[in-house]
Symmetry: D2
Amino acid sequence: MTEAHVHRVQIYYEDTDHSGLVYHANYLKYFERAREHLLGVEELVRLLEEEGVGFVVYKAAMTFKRGAVFGDTIEIRTQVKSESDYRIVFSQNVFRGEELLVEGQVEMVCVDATTKLVKLPVSVLERLG
Amino acid sequence: MTEAHVHRVQIYYEDTDHSGLVYHANYLKYFERAREHLLGVEELVRLLEEEGVGFVVYKAAMTFKRGAVFGDTIEIRTQVKSESDYRIVFSQNVFRGEELLVEGQVEMVCVDATTKLVKLPVSVLERLG
Amino acid sequence: MTEAHVHRVQIYYEDTDHSGLVYHANYLKYFERAREHLLGVEELVRLLEEEGVGFVVYKAAMTFKRGAVFGDTIEIRTQVKSESDYRIVFSQNVFRGEELLVEGQVEMVCVDATTKLVKLPVSVLERLG
Amino acid sequence: MTEAHVHRVQIYYEDTDHSGLVYHANYLKYFERAREHLLGVEELVRLLEEEGVGFVVYKAAMTFKRGAVFGDTIEIRTQVKSESDYRIVFSQNVFRGEELLVEGQVEMVCVDATTKLVKLPVSVLERLG
């Protein structure tokens, strides 16, 4: 995938803290929203309900360069950095216009209903191309 | 205002709790997102930055009839129920299709930088019509 | 129950928003933490795991008088206002010292694994006295 | 500092998601609660109010090994890994009993009211020893 998937997030009161900036942990929420759209919400629901397979975050890392504020619309730009049978690594960066706010990297794996590691579903890998 | 303002919310992992349903307190977040779009995010930012005036929730009440789940897209339908110089009462109901999930009512007032009650800004009242 | 159950909450960055005050929806979280201690966390876990019975909020109402800020320690004072076979009404008020910040009322019911309404568990009613 | 600072966290409904486990982003909240107690909440409030100096997260990384569930009491064990005039690196690990759930590392810096980088306050460094 050469082009990044773009997910826009509007910053509301709930997103900020008393410093006036977005609370740092919230960027992980925006990353997840973006990944769900990239992977396909309907397919994620189907995998969970019919096959008992869910995606879970195994590693996450972020570097915070600038903070978003109330009223901002930011972009989460997501790219698959690497993938194997068992894990996908996403590069997820946050931009306000062309200004880079946060650099992130998230590694995901799949587990079954007993939280045992399973192969990534073919349906999702095909969608990612 | 006869027709309700509609704000759509996609339900992500972050919104749910271990019961499988949306965590009850989160509906207050969706209500606020909806009100901010109805009142106008840009004008809210301007009022805060230039005039030091902010909207705060004075009362909130909700009745929970059904719960939304991961993958749902729900609608927040907001109407101004009554308004005076100092307060606006919003009726805010949550629908999944035509199924009513949550009934809410939120009363808002405005405060200045010292948290003293002030009149509602004319700019906002005019927008509400 | 004549005396209120007291649950203390320390206000962290995560609790506040860019107004400098605690985000209004968060008080519902503190109310729930308080109720879980009052009802008994271990018994709630057992009811869910062994009997498939969970408590859910049916109604919630709050009046916000003053806002807590970062660094505050607040008290959630909870009392059972009324109860029947199917519902409990809690009065839950937030204090900072002797200053009343938020008045709340929360009505709870019990549902089984299919979200059907069931009687309140005897084990919990006995604990409440 | 050879011994880890221990901060206990009770897992409530609000902490979990529909997978049944604690939502991954929430561990960053627990890390922050722990650091605030380690650094001293009162001194953090004083620094912000009197000197306009605040701590901000510059980098955060987590590896998720096991998930906590509703009813768990977990421990955040925090140690200062390294510090310089401008940054502190914390090692923050989450345990349930002696089972390691999450490994984290958080790097913090200080900024003034204009978000310009400033030296770490002496009062805090002295407390850390």
